[in-house]
């Protein structure tokens, strides 16, 4: 049984009805997408700004109501958005560690909230549990009585991770957990996340825009473009052996030590207009291989090669 099963999940943000004329259909931030995450797996989600990765994350933890589709966690369907119901199964680690902590609460108050509200744990047990979690994220217990502004970004992110762990979830959605951190601290946090995963038997959904980071932590990687999944595949192969032209473009754009500087070949850089989405493949306008078929018909996600899936009419072959 997969830890997380997402079936045709989609989100459309309604627009205001104009004074005259009919209401528009709204902006489709996430187009219907289906995927599964196996228990104990780390699924990396990459995409550029505006690809719908944060909207997806917020739907998965119940902070946003899905427009259609369903979310199943370990076989249990969660249909209405209620963070309190989701909280025990799936938790969220925020991008900005400092703004995700209430500046006027001590760390102990922050840590105890999920224990008290989600698990109804009595005070005596709470204290022991908080100490145990703090030990596993390598934070000193004296930090518990302090306020968030006294912490550096890396420490605050550890506290954010500790809070997610306190709910004792099965799955943690990590939304750009290291983007706000310096590189030397980033590595500390990434290693900690890997250790915690083994220790608590967690399943991760790791969202980021950094290809090198996602490759270092993931088992499988899902590439999003304009609200749709364009490619899913094994983390070791997907960037070395991309099937979708967009994945190839991403991999070639990442700055790598020792690779000479050449702008990757492509037409235009603009994303399609979300208010007026193109008919066929959203990437057709930037794609070197686009044909008339691409401009009229939206490609389906189909297996290409042994364990990769790509949504492309003309996938790249070896």
């Amino acid at each position: 049984m997969p830890a997380l099963k997402v079936d045709n999940l989609a989100k459309t943000f309604a627009l205001k009805k104009p004074l005259f004329g009919a209401a528009s259909t709204g902006v489709r931030a996430v187009r219907p997408m289906s995927f599964q995450v196996q228990s104990g797996e780390t699924l990396g989600v990459v995409g550029e700004s505006g690809c719908g990765k944060s909207t997806l994350a917020r739907m998965l933890v119940g902070l946003l109501d899905a427009s259609e589709g369903k979310i199943e966690i370990e076989g249990k369907a969660l249909d209405n958005a209620d963070p309190a119901k989701f909280g025990k199964l799936i938790q969220y680690v925020f991008q900005d560690p400092n703004s995700s902590l209430n500046p006027r609460k001590t760390i102990r108050q922050v840590m105890e909230a999920p224990l008290k509200r989600l698990h109804g744990m009595p005070r005596s047990e709470r204290e022991a549990r908080v100490s145990q979690i703090f030990a596993s994220v390598n934070l000193r217990e004296e930090f518990l009585e302090r306020y968030p502004h006294e912490f550096s970004g890396g420490q605050a992110q550890r506290i954010g991770i500790a809070r997610a762990l306190a709910a004792n979830p099965r799955i943690i959605v990590l939304d750009e957990p290291v983007s706000a951190l310096d590189v030397s601290v980033q590595a500390q946090v990434l290693n900690l996340l890997a250790d915690l995963k083994t220790e608590f038997g967690l399943t991760y959904l790791f969202i980021t825009h950094d290809l090198a980071v996602v490759e270092a932590v993931s088992d499988r990687i899902m590439v999003l473009y304009f609200g749709s999944v364009v490619e899913i595949g094994d983390a070791r192969r997907i960037f070395a052996n991309p099937r979708h032209p967009y994945t190839k473009l991403l991999a070639e754009s990442a700055p790598v030590v020792g690779r000479p500087l050449t702008a990757p070949e492509q037409k235009g850089t603009e994303l399609p207009d979300p208010l007026n989405p193109p008919l066929g493949c959203a990437f057709a306008g930037r794609c070197p291989n686009a044909t008339d078929l691409c401009r009229t018909q939206e490609p389906e996600l189909e297996p290409v090669g042994e364990d990769q899936l790509a949504a492309c009419h003309h996938p790249i072959q070896d």
């Binding site: 703004s99 006027r104 702008a263």
Partner: protein, 621 residues
């Protein structure tokens, strides 16, 4: 708390307000035990006694009542009503504001439109209507004044709440299983409370005036009960013949309202974190220079930063952001400056053209020489002429550096015209050409766009075009691609590379990304805690890093193609620049550190082309 009081009393006027207000408060609190005459006993024979007559220190009113006694009892009543009204208005108004701001959407719309309707009435008219409906009396006046002030609190607090409700800690609280009421009470309320208190402290005075106004009109306190407004109202008919009867309550109202307002302003200023840090004070046009020691001699580099020291003086603390940095670029060369946040790389860049905000920034030593001329000691006019003309900047966030209300073409023209006397028609044509140079498609049409109509990558191209506008000799690029997506970053980098080659530009490129410097820069300087720890040609620094920090920093950056793995993290944190350790700043995180590293100053060893600041370098240089 003591820090807050110290800050508050540094403001002389606020201190004066506090003293006057406390005196008044002590007086009215003691009123019941003071040996005063009964304020309501009339003695018409003694009417209109002058002040300082025997038995009546402040004289008597038109019914022969003792003015001092009436004044103190009246003040007591007025203050009580004013404070009670402020508390009621603040409680109801803030509750409305928090609910509207937290729930948003339709609830917000309905509540706030209701509040708007309340605000549409002139306040005194509204108060009169309420009193007319409820009947005169001090209690009803209190209700009227409170009701009139509810919208003020509701709107203020709603604005603050909307900002807070979108913050991530509210989402985090929902994920921790908290309900709406608990989130409002435990997450939002503690964060808006300071704002409520500040708003109250600045409105109490106003409410006392409004209550006095209603009493003056005979709608508040009823005779014989005295409050400041009714005392004034009763004295009005004798204003000319016996002025002291109106002057006495008048002065008291003046003192109370004035002291409350002065104190309230002081409290607001002392609590506002932006004021405390000095962020709201207007910075000077150039960074303050207080150089001690000798100015280094000129060199033949195009731009040379020589032993530059820049500090931030905040209160008693001194942050040594840049502690003696020397860098130089020649024409056609690209120098990469790499470091983590707080390493001083941006401050170094801003110091070149005196752009560090002062206060709190101060340049305390060294020199910056452009073609031999020292820019640190230069006059403002000389700096202004070079800013953007000879040395141009590209910043990280093009959305915040472009003016949102002007078309990009006009901003480019302005950049040219501030240095050269060229007619607008020509600069417009030049603007189109510049946009073409940075490969913006359809430049003729794009020149009339506003910044918000362009994508992030296009905006950064405009930022680069603006830096190129006057064909500068040096461009300082401070993390120009950090905010961009990777596909866009690749294009911007290759554009910068081409421009540098075509025009023989010198570029100082500041970043935290090794991949970017490796592709773009000829030489690299690595900064740590305000100093350069290693410098050298790009391939040599990246392939054979000599400083342990450089080596470990490169190792902990994941690189594409490396597969799933544990990363070699550096334990610990960089030191704070207001509390730098003696010796090497990296010693506490370094495996190779010895006693010598923790004591004496470590000098930069090597020559201009390859140098390292370490006693035990990884590679011999």
């Amino acid at each position: 708390m003591t820090a807050f009081l110290k800050l508050l009393f540094r403001n002389r006027l606020a201190a004066l307000g506090a003293v006057v207000l406390s005196a008044v408060l002590i007086l009215v609190l003691l009123t019941p035990v003071l040996p005063l005459q009964n304020p309501d006993i009339t003695a018409t024979a003694d009417r209109f006694q002058k002040p300082f007559t025997e038995g009546h220190l402040l004289g008597t009113d038109h019914l022969g009542r003792d003015l001092l006694s009436r004044l103190l009892h009246g003040t007591r009543l007025s203050l009580a009503v004013g404070i009670a009204a402020a508390l009621i208005a603040a409680t109801i108004g803030s509750a409305i504001g928090i609910v509207a701001g937290y729930f948003g959407g339709r609830a917000d719309n309905i509540i706030m439109r209701g509040v708007d309707m309340l605000m549409a009435f002139p306040y005194i008219l509204l108060a009169l209507v309420i009193v007319a409906a409820l009947g005169p009396g001090l209690m009803n006046a209190l209700i009227a004044v409170a009701a009139v002030n509810v919208p003020f609190f509701a709107r203020n607090i709603r604005g603050i709440t909307v900002g807070l409700a979108g913050r991530e800690f509210i989402d985090a609280a929902r994920l921790a299983g908290m309900g709406h009421i608990r989130i409002i009470l435990t997450e939002l309320l503690p964060n808006v409370l300071p704002v409520i208190i500040i708003a109250m402290s600045t409105t109490v005075g106003w409410m006392i005036l409004e209550t006095a106004g209603l009493s003056f009109l005979g709608l508040g306190s009823q005779p014989p009960q005295a409050d400041l407004g009714s005392m004034l109202g009763e004295a009005r008919s004798a204003l000319i013949s016996h002025p002291h009867t109106s002057v006495v309550p008048g002065i008291m109202i003046f003192l109370i309202v004035m002291s409350i307002n002065l104190l309230g302003d002081g409290v607001r200023d002392a609590l506002d974190p932006r004021l405390r840090s000095g962020a709201l004070s207007r910075p000077r046009a150039m960074t303050l220079v207080e150089r001690k020691g000798e100015v280094p001699a000129p060199t033949d580099d195009l731009l040379a930063i020589q032993d530059l020291q820049t500090q931030f003086h905040v209160g008693d603390r001194v942050y040594r952001a840049v502690g003696g940095v020397s860098l130089s670029v020649k024409a056609g060369e690209c120098l990469g400056v790499i470091g983590e946040s707080g390493s001083g790389k941006s401050v170094t860049a801003l110091s070149v053209m005196g752009l560090v905000a002062s206060p709190p920034g101060v340049i305390t030593g060294g020199a910056v020489r452009f073609q031999g001329e020292d820019l640190i000691g230069a006059s403002y006019e000389s700096l202004r002429q070079k800013r953007g003309d000879r040395v141009a900047y590209i910043f990280q966030d093009p959305l915040s550096t472009l003016h949102p209300l002007y078309r990009v073409g006009r901003q480019l023209s302005e950049a040219i015209q501030s240095h050269h006397d060229i007619p607008t028609a020509e600069t417009q044509a030049r603007a189109v050409q510049l946009l073409r140079d940075v490969r913006i498609p359809n430049a003729e049409a794009r020149v009339d766009n506003y910044p918000h109509e362009l994508s992030g990558g296009m905006r950064q191209r405009v930022g680069i075009a603006m830096a190129l506008a006057n064909e500068p000799d040096v461009i300082i690029a401070d993390e120009p691609t950090t905010a961009l997506d990777v596909t866009v970053q690749a294009q911007i980098l290759s554009l910068l590379d081409d421009l540098q080659r075509e025009r023989g530009l010198a570029i100082i490129f500041i970043t935290h990304d090794f991949g970017v410097v490796a592709q773009l820069c000829d030489r690299i300087a690595v900064m740590y805690a305000g100093r350069i720890v290693e410098e050298g040609p790009t391939p040599s620094v990246l392939e054979a890093p000599a400083h342990p920090y450089t080596k470990r920093l490169i190792a902990c950056v994941p690189e594409l193609g490396g597969g799933q793995r544990a990363l070699a993290a550096i334990p610990g944190l960089p030191p704070l620049v207001d509390d730098l350790p003696p010796g090497c700043a990296f010693a506490s995180r370094c495996e190779k550190a010895q006693e010598t590293c923790r004591t004496g100053e470590v000098m930069l060893k090597g020559d201009a082309s390859r140098a390292v600041r370490c006693h035990y370098p990884e590679e011999a240089i």
